[in-house]
């Protein structure tokens, strides 16, 4: 399922550590790895196009898994 989400990139310290995207509606997505390193910066505001992957599971378990197709950085909110 393809989605477009605007939100903030955050690192979760649970388990081994996981990169997440917290949407402006306050839903947390687990960014599927490997992902572009340019995206993985704490506090980065982004608009992401991606795919929700329900066919996989993770050790992070912090939210739905989002496979990034592309993204664009936004100015600080």
């Amino acid at each position: 399922m393809e989605v477009e989400i605007t939100g903030t990139v955050k690192q979760s310290e649970v388990g081994m550590g996981t990169w997440t995207l917290v949407s402006d509606r306050n839903a947390t997505y687990e960014i599927m790895q490997p992902a572009d390193r340019a995206l993985l910066q704490e506090g980065l505001r982004v608009k992401v196009r991606g795919k929700l992957r329900r066919d996989i599971m993770t050790m992070g378990m912090v939210g739905e898994v989002l496979e990034i197709i592309d993204f664009s950085m936004l100015a600080e909110a």
Binding site: G15, M16, Q33, M57, T58, M59, M61, V65
Partner: protein, 631 residues
């Protein structure tokens, strides 16, 4: 008639066992030899040195006080210094391996050494005997010697030490479906069974992430190995199944296959510290398959602070585990609500100043990014789930194997959280000690009995040494045989086994209980003899002789006790217990030590003691029979 026959058979068997009793340490292990020389003359010592060197042993006085008694201990030399090396070891050989070998001598080798020392010292030594190591591990403290154990607040919080008294998960196979498991240093002594790598489709399920190794550590880290940390079911076996790649991500199809693999290859418990939001019929079918094969399946609830467990934890046939912080409260990240069956420590590493607080996490041995062995603290429901899997292994090792029964025990034994409207904790907080207690309920547990012995001071060496007339092995035998006899009686007419009864069993045969701490006071001798004496020996308390007094070494006292105590709800069991053990003690004396006051003829003494033993048993039998209906 049949019962009479059984009693006769019992006593014949007892007689046989006692006459063939080889002595207390016969099966024991030893790694040093005690030698008592006739004198400590230079010639004797020179001979002792010569004998020692043959097997590279060293000798030393047993203690600072033993030189006057010429008592020496021969033990493998521990120092591997250059001087010794040049003296004793072939220069071409690795000296250190020789030293190591000395520590690892097998029992057979020690028997050989013992025979040699005995032969060589036959003229100059009074005594040459194995210096037995008395291992009380199985009933002694269960606190492990792992140096980092004190940092494992999570294990203390599930009452693990008390659980270890009964179960360490021996023989149970726990499948760890995760990023793989690497055999880091503190998993070296943990047993593994064959696993599989579903990510790379090969036979090597090594970890390339660190998550799975950490999870396996919580379940079965090598424990009591003087290294690192402890694990919950450290005698269980790990089946490593790799389904998550190095990023900790895996497909549902691989996970489903791994579940089936585990069920088909003898796993008893499955731990899945993984999850996702999506449901899948492939996964559900695999879970049903494993469950129907009797596998207990446990999974992490998820770390999204979301009001429902993720899948697979959410499936009814999977035990979903929520995480608690060191305070016992719900961890900030833990999912809750639907699908949460129980909660266990997952940790909370948020420090006060925004920094990471390592002490709040779950500490295990795992690998770092380069694959090197490290001790690391993590937090998450991933860490909580293996706590429950470990305790499930402890339960299964007690003989409970159906997954529904394991879940029932886990839920029944929790520390309940009274006010939990959001289902943060499921049934409550995991409690390993109550779980194994519940799993073992209704079983005749000899370990319980030995624990009771320890708690009441019976296992203190001073008790046995100062206890009275009878020798240590004899007393030990009387204890065991009394217990067996009582157990046999209970097979005929079930009565309630209570502590008054057990106390009675002891009072009669070996001496009074509650001696612990009694010796710290410097009191006159007689009260000690009184306290330390059995009923049979009571007559000797004031006479300072080892010859038994026929008045107390008879059925008389048990008879009087029964008459006076049968009306009392608790004390009557004490009297019955006493009667049983007096009969055993009298039987033992009949066989071994029938030295008596006034009755000097050996066979007359034997007849007297034997008849009284039978009378005593008859009394116990009749009383237990008449009382068994009353409870």
């Amino acid at each position: 008639m049949k019962k009479l026959l059984a009693v006769i058979l019992f006593f014949s068997a007892l007689f046989w066992v006692l006459s063939n009793y080889p002595g207390i340490g016969a099966q024991g292990e030893f790694s040093s030899i005690a030698v008592e020389l006739k004198d400590s003359s230079p010639a004797s010592l020179a001979l002792l040195e010569k004998v020692s060197q043959k097997y590279d042993l060293e000798f030393a006085p047993s203690s600072a006080f033993s030189e006057t008694r010429h008592l020496y201990i021969l033990a493998p030399s521990t120092a591997c210094d250059a001087d010794r090396v040049s003296r004793r070891v072939d220069p071409n050989r690795q000296t250190f391996s020789v030293c190591t070998k000395l520590q690892d001598w097998l029992p057979e080798r020690w028997q050989e050494i013992l025979a040699y020392v005995r032969q060589e010292l036959r003229d100059s030594a009074q005594v040459v005997e194995p210096n037995y190591q008395y291992k009380l591990d199985f009933i002694g403290s269960t606190r492990p010697n792992d140096p980092l154990y004190s940092k494992q607040w999570n294990l203390a919080s599930i009452n693990i030490e008390k659980a270890w008294e009964k179960s360490k998960g021996k023989g149970v196979v726990v499948a760890v479906i995760d990023t793989g498991v690497s055999r880091v240093e503190d998993l070296q002594q943990t047993e593994f069974v064959k696993g599989y790598d579903f990510v790379n489709d090969d036979d090597d399920p090594s970890d390339d992430n660190g998550h799975g190794t950490h999870v396996a550590g919580t379940i079965a880290q090598s424990t009591n190995n003087n290294l690192g940390v402890a694990g919950i079911a450290y005698e269980a076996k790990i089946m490593p199944l790799k389904v998550l790649n190095s990023f900790g991500i895996g497909t549902i199809t691989d996970i489903a296959e791994a579940i089936r693999f585990a069920a088909d290859h003898g796993a008893n418990v499955i731990n899945m510290s993984l999850g996702g939001a999506g449901e899948s019929s492939i996964l559900k079918e695999a879970i049903d398959y494993a469950y129907n094969k009797g596998v207990t399946i446990i999974a992490a609830a998820g770390n999204a602070n979301y009001p429902a467990a993720f899948y697979p934890a959410r499936y009814p046939k999977v035990i979903g585990v929520a995480a608690t912080a060191p305070t016992g409260e719900k961890a900030f990240y833990s999912n809750y609500g639907a699908g949460v069956d129980i909660s266990a420590p997952g940790g909370d590493m948020r420090g006060a100043d925004g920094k990471k607080n390592e002490a709040g996490g779950i500490l295990q041995n795992t690998i770092d990014k380069e694959g090197k062995s490290i001790y690391a603290s993590f937090q998450g429901t991933s860490m909580a789930s293996p706590h429950v899997a470990g305790v499930a292994a402890l339960i299964e090792a007690m003989g409970v194997q159906k997954p529904e029964e394991v879940l029932h025990i886990l839920k029944q034994s929790v520390i309940k959280v009274p006010d939990d409207p959001q289902n943060y904790y499921g049934a409550g907080r995991l409690d390993a000690a109550s779980a194994v207690q519940l799993a073992g309920k209704g079983k005749l547990d000899f370990l319980d009995f030995f624990r009771w012995l320890r708690d009441n001071g019976y296992l203190s060496p001073r008790f046995w040494l100062d206890g009275g007339v009878m020798s240590i092995p004899l007393k030990l035998l009387i204890v065991v045989v009394s217990y067996l006899l009582a157990w046999l009686l209970r097979q005929w007419f079930p009565f309630r086994w209570n502590w008054s009864f057990t106390n009675g069993l002891f009072f009669g045969g070996t001496g009074l209980f509650l001696l612990r701490g009694f010796y710290v006071f410097d009191l006159p001798q007689t009260p000690f003899r009184l306290m330390g004496s059995s009923i049979v020996e009571l007559g000797n308390v004031f006479s300072n002789t080892n010859a038994l007094n026929p008045i107390t070494a008879s059925a008389l006292l048990p008879f009087l006790m029964l008459i006076f105590l049968l009306g009392h709800a608790r004390w009557k069991w004490f009297a019955i217990g006493s009667a049983i053990s007096v009969s055993v003690a009298l039987t033992a004396h009949t066989i071994f030590a029938p030295e008596m006051m006034w009755i000097t003829d050996l066979w007359q003494a034997r007849a007297y003691l034997g008849v009284n033993a039978i009378l005593c048993f008859g009394l116990a039998y009749l009383s237990a029979k008449s009382e068994s209906g009353a409870v």
